[in-house]
Each structure stands twice: as C-alpha cells, then as structure tokens.
Symmetry: C2
C-alpha cells in the first residue's frame, strides 16, 4: 500500500507527535498481536496520541497517504481484531487514559478510551462513590477495546454487556472528523443509534476515543457458592428454573468435569470433578439470603451436591479466582500450549443440547478441550490447548470450531457471544448473517470509503 | 414524483394484493396522519400486506416506479413519523398481526410487526405464562411502531426501552430484500448491530415486519403509591436519593401542580394540587415491602406529604389510570383543544433545574401548559392544549418547544426521550447531533439510495 510514500507520512506523523511516534522494532512487536493464536505482521509504526485532536490529525495524515490504521487497546482480545496487517499504522490508545468526569447522582462517567476497567473501578472507590462499572470480561481490558468488541463476561446475566452500559461515544471517523454520538440522557429517540453501531464495530468504522458509561450501584450484600451436578443438562435446567423464579443472580458460570479437574490441579483446590455451577447473588441482605435459599432448593431438585458457600470477601475472591483462572488452568492441562477458544451463544432452552452435541463432536477428535460458560446467557467456550505452531492441530481446532458454530446457528444462536469477529470469525459471520452482511458492508463502505479503518477485520471482503 | 406513472404500479399492486390494495378515500384518510397536530396529505393508496413476501413485492414495485413508502402501525405516534406526503404509498401493517412463537424458557417471542402490545400481553396470560412484554408507552401501539420509534414509557426506569428489549428483526430493505438481523442469542458480538440501527429508524431504512422480543417475568408483588411534594425540586431530589439506595422501583412519574389539578378534574379525584410523584414497586413480597418503607422515609426527608398506597389491583389500576389519562386530562383543561407535546430528557441531576428553567420560560408566554414526566429517566413532557388550526398558538408552542430543547441540550440531554423525530424534531435533531448527522445521512443514503423509505422524516434533507 503505497510503501514508497511511507517516508513522507512518517515525517509528518513524527512532526505532529514527536517521541510519541515510534518505528522501533520492540514497540512495533509489542503492538503486533492480541492474546490469541492469531498471527500478524509488524505494524510499520506505532502512534501514541494523547488527545482527540491528535487522533484526528493521525487519521487525516493516514487518509492522505492511504495508510491503513489498526487501533490498539490492551491487546487482550482473542479473535485477532488488533493484529497488524501489511503496511498498517497502529494507533495505541494507552496514553489516552484520563477519567474525564464522574457524576454519582447520574451514575455515569466519561473516560478516554485507554482507561482500563480496573483503573475506573479503583478510581470510583477512591473518590468515595458506592458505584462500579459492572461489565467484567475477566481481563483488565481498556474500556475502548471493550466498546469496540462489544465485550461482556461473567456479570452480563444481571448487568448486561457493553451494549447496555454505554450512553455515548467520541469517535474519530475515517475523514478525521471528531464526532459525538449519543448524549448523557438515559434514553433518547433522537435519530439513528450511532452509539450502538460503533459498539462492536472493532475499529472498522472509526477510532473510539472517549466513552460515556453507565455506572452501577455496588450491591449491599453478595454471596457466592459452588455446586456440583450429575450432568451438564441438570446444571442447565437448574439455571433455567432459577431464572424463571426471578431470584437475584449476578453471575452463573458452568464448568464441565474436565475444566473442574484442570481448575483443581491449577489452583490446588479439591472441588468435586463434575459439571459445576459457580453462583453469585447480589442485592439487599434479605434478597441475597432469600435468593440463596431458593437457589439451593432448585439445585437439590435437580440432583445437585451441597452448596459450598463463600460469604466473606476473601473466601469469595478465592472461589472466583478459580473461575477467572479457568483459561490458564485449561492451558495448564498441556504445559506450554497456546489457547484456541470458541464462543457460541444459543437460547438457554437449547444450551444443554448444544453442549451435548458439542461434546459428541469433540469425542470424534484427538483434541480434548474443556468447556466453560456464561450459562445464564447461553454462552459457552470450548478451550483447546494447542501445541504452538502446530498447523495440523490448529486446523483440527478450526474444523471443530466451524462445526460448533453450525450447531449453534442451527439453534438460532450466534457464532460469537462476546469475543467479536476479528479475523477468526469472518467466515462464521457470513454464515450467521446471510443477506444482512450486505447491509453491514454498505455501512462500512459509506463510513470508510477508502477502507483504511482496520481493514480485513470483521469482513472477508469489505467493499460492496 | 412520477405521478404520470402511478396508474401502472397501481395495477401491479392490485394484481398482487387484490382487495388488500385500496385507493378508497376513507381508507386513505384513515392512514394520513398520527395522533398529533402534524398535518399530512392523503397517501395515493394503502396496501395491507399479510406476509414478508408481500411487503418485499410492494417495495420492489415501488422501487421500480420510484414511489415513496410510508409504513403505518396504529397511528398512535406524536411526531408525525407516519404522516403521508405527496405521492406516497402507505403500507399498513395491521394485517401482519400473528404471534409467531413464544418460548417461556428463553423468555422471548417472535411477532409480526402489527401485533400490539396489549395483544401480546393478553396472549401471554392466556397461554399460561408468567411473562409479559414490559415496555409500556401508554397507547396500545403496534410493536413494529414501537421498534420504529424506539418507544419507552413509564416502566423504562426498571425494564428499559425498546432498545433493551429486542433481540432481532426481520426487515424488508429498500431493494426488496428480506433481511434477518440479530438472533435469538441473549448476547452477540457478531458484527455491526443492525438490530439497534433499525430500532428508532422510523421506517427510513426499511420496513420492520417481524420482531423477536425479550419477555419479562411478572413481578411476584406490586405496590403503588402517590405522594405530594412542596416543590418539583424536592420531588426530583427524592427520586435521585431513591435510585441511590437501589430500591426496587418500576415506575416513578412526576406530575406538576397544573397537571394534578387537571387529573383531579378529569377523573373526579381529590389528590392534593401540588407537584406529585406516582410510584410503583415490583419484586418479591419482602422486596416490595422493604422498598416501600425506604421510599416513604426518603420522601418524608424531602418534606413530602403522606403516601397514599394502593396494593390491591383495582385500586392500583385506578391510581395509574389517572396517570395514563394525563394527556387527555391536560387537553381537557381547554375543551376541544389539540395537543402539542415536548419530550426532552436530561441527566437526572439536571432535571429539577431543567424543569425550573422550562417553567420560567413558560411563564413568559400566554400559553399555560402542564408538565408530566418519567422522572426516573430524566424525561418530561410539556403538554400544550392548543386551539385547533390556530397558527399563532402553534407557532408560540413551537417557539417555546425550541427553547426547551435548547435548555436540555445545554445540559447534555436529548431533544426526544421517547417520541422520536418524525417531522416535528428534525430541526432539533440537527442541533443535537452536529457532525453525527452526516454519519446518519451517509447510512441513510447507503441503505436507501433512491430515498423512497419514508422520505422527509428524521432528516430535513436526507441525501449527503
């Protein structure tokens, strides 16, 4: 892509950004990939803007020289949305890390895109609010990256995903305009919902630079528990029944027996090696007590073992740490492996069947992955620990993943519940959306006619 | 618009639809306008499709002859989104009124666009579910119309708006394609959020024909109350404090003293003539009792009068009927008048100030409107009872409305919380969104290049 021109734009970018423009090999290498097996190349250079105006100038310079752009948050994604491709400039947003405003009465805040989830939550505690930002994907991701991938995680069953927790955005569009979407109003019927269009657009429609977020009250009381079940189906039926009663569940996570074994070994724990649910209840003291009691009864009706409760914060942290470490525990089943993770999501009434069909499929393979999932949302992950750079194993994981996607789509589900499309799910996206892909492509072309905003991501072929 | 061609398309449409294609004057007149003061002309004809395929064929015939299309639900909107303009074909969706599927375990349903809110809720009771569709704009609107205008209403503070309660759509696009957006998965990160793009697009991007909706558990217990306050500010502060405690409020509505007087007179009631909050609490028996008690204490701290409780269903219905009748009560202040309603929404911390500034502005006018609002969301309406066809009064209401919008935008609010843009808020939309309007126009042009989908709505000038 006009590589003969690169000298000149580099000069312009360096003039604008000084030392915050880098062609250093180590810097380029640190911004070449995400947390997954997806391989990229090195970006030609990395820019570290500090302001909207700087991002806009970078985009305008890149537009002038037709240089493609990849925005970069913390690199904690797993579908390759930020992997560098030939000739790209990486815009790293980690120096846009200011918390611009917190309004406790309105339960909202505005942050720059590089602010991380834990940075914001630490700040909210420090300034004495009883508020937190509730979306919890596990990793300490940047909030800009979480917007870009429509992230969710363990708490979505109660508090929603990024779709539900963003009021407005500042976006630098492909022509270098700085555009505000949404407002601070809690609801609006004022025209097309550009905010939701940019949420999940993975940098392909513009660079997200600021975010106005909804904040959530910290619960008065929290209780956590772990409980084993005879089968995955019994565990899922328990969850359906619990949702039916309206009890106050904030997290319900499923780990299969292989995953529980992995967790025990990784963290030195002694949980039963069986399909297991991890629960967390949030609410008033009374609500949590009431919900816990009802949950125990429903689980017992489905043949569960006893609940192992954790009400004090340390015990609760230890319990959930086992869940958060699941991915590493799964990889630890095969030391030195790299992870390949699926992410389908189906209507909860089909979840047990979807997992059963997935397990039957996996039984035909020499790969032996474990399963964990956000069962309240119908979302589960198959984690394959693969030998690094083993193309045969990668192809086998991809073959299985494609079939798992087919199983989920057959059940009115989606190929990706929370990880996004990146490069890993582009084929699956075509299968899932059919003609709707043409509308997405038309929007991409309308908003980025030169195809310079994270090209090659989301779509196999972006132009209409 | 090609009126010399109209004969031929009419022949084609009649051949396709038979008696479900009408050029009858009374039918055209019944589909010329909405529930507001906005005046249209008569549509050239009205089509009553029964299937997606029929809608697609109608759109294709209209595309061929460049005939603009207005989709029509129940005509209960108030911003003129369905008023007919010169040469349009009206597509009335009331014969697409089948409930296609209800899945209690998944708490979702798929309906055709002409199904109304009460039709669905009656059906959910009849088939024995403990579920309802929670968005409640007051009118028995069609669900397609509610999607198209991103409707909300009194229950949004707890259950969200149409934005939060739709999983997927079937849409007939400008080229006559039948497109599915979304899936039945509770969450997805699979590409651009077309579902949310069509929600609130007011028929300008395509015709919404089917909707997959989230359903909500009916609460175990409900309690309602009414409580007077010395000032609007005291009422709003009470609400902010209540939201802060996390109590389980499902509705909080504010009526000012003029509106309470109107309600008393309209419904033969004896409420105190003062700024008043209407509350509804949903949850378990204990939660509702606990929330009610805390709410009473907080209100008393802000100088409220006593709560008037209504726990049995008839009493509750009577209490809320007074709220639902507010619009008609407001018009009844001036018998024979037509309504002009504003719809701004601001961060709740600014709501008292916004209402105070609005009241100061209104004091400068000879019009004496009343105020009511969804105070938990920061959304309020000024209802002007106007003399029909009095252009001077209409101009005065518009002048005041424009200034109320300016007050709200100054406070990071929106010009329309729930009524949509239609023709009434097109100027305000430009003021609110600035450069973001260019992105909306680019999307409109990309998805409807001939500008035949409800042209003249949302945008003053839709083409880029």
């Amino acid at each position: 892509m006009n590589r003969h021109n690169l000298k000149h734009p580099h000069k312009e970018l360096r003039k604008r950004l000084g030392t915050r423009f880098s062609t250093d090999d180590a810097v380029r290498d640190a911004h070449a990939r995400d947390a997954s097996y997806h391989q990229g190349t090195l970006p030609d250079a990395v820019a570290f803007p500090k302001t909207n105006a700087e991002v806009a100038d970078i985009v305008r310079i890149c537009a002038k020289y037709k240089i493609p752009i990849v925005p970069y948050g913390t690199g904690t994604g797993v579908e390759g949305a930020v992997v560098a491709t030939e000739g790209v400039l990486c815009i790293a947003l980690n120096e846009m890390n200011r918390i611009l405003r917190v309004s406790p009465d309105d339960r909202d805040a505005t942050v720059e895109a590089g602010v991380t989830r834990l940075q914001l939550n630490t700040h909210l505690t420090k300034i004495g609010t009883q508020l937190h930002f509730s979306v919890d994907p596990g990793a300490d991701a940047s909030l800009g990256g979480m917007v870009a991938t429509r992230a969710s995680g363990t708490s979505a069953v109660r508090y929603g995903t990024m779709l539900d927790n963003v009021l407005g955005l500042t976006v630098v569009t492909a022509d270098g305009s700085i555009v505000q979407t949404g407002s601070r109003a809690r609801k609006s019927a004022a025209g097309y919902d550009l905010t939701r269009l940019f949420i999940g657009s993975e940098g392909t429609l513009g660079i997200i630079t600021e975010i106005t977020l909804k904040l959530t009250r910290l619960p008065d009381a929290v209780a956590s528990a772990v409980c084993a079940f005879p089968t995955v189906a019994a565990a899922v039926d328990t969850v359906i029944k619990m949702m039916d009663t309206g009890i106050s569940i904030a997290r319900i996570e499923l780990l299969d027996e292989l995953q529980m074994d992995a967790v025990n070994k990784y963290a030195g724990l002694d949980y039963e090696v069986a399909p297991t649910l991890f629960f967390e209840f949030h609410g008033s003291e009374h609500t949590v007590a009431e919900s816990s009691e009802i949950a125990g009864k429903i689980a017992a009706m489905h043949g569960s073992g006893d609940f192992r409760w954790a009400t004090d914060e340390n015990e609760r942290k230890r319990l959930w740490q086992a869940r958060y470490d699941s991915y590493y525990a799964a990889l630890n089943r095969r030391p030195g492996s790299v992870g390949y993770v699926t992410d389908v999501c189906v209507p909860i009434s089909r979840l047990a069947e979807c997992i059963a069909k997935t397990k039957a499929l996996l039984a035909t393979s020499y790969l032996i992955p474990s399963i964990l999932g956000h069962v309240g949302d119908g979302n589960f992950h198959v984690v394959f620990p693969l030998e690094p750079n083993n193309k045969v194993e990668l192809a086998e994981a991809q073959r299985l993943s494609d079939q798992i996607v087919d199983i989920a789509l057959e059940m009115d589900g989606t190929c990706t519940g929370e990880h996004g499309v990146g490069v890993g799910k582009r084929n699956a996206l075509e299968k899932e959306h059919g003609e709707a892909i043409d509308l997405m492509r038309a929007i991409k072309h309308a908003l980025d006619p030169q195809n310079l905003m994270n090209p090659g991501k989301v779509f196999l072929s972006p132009q209409t």
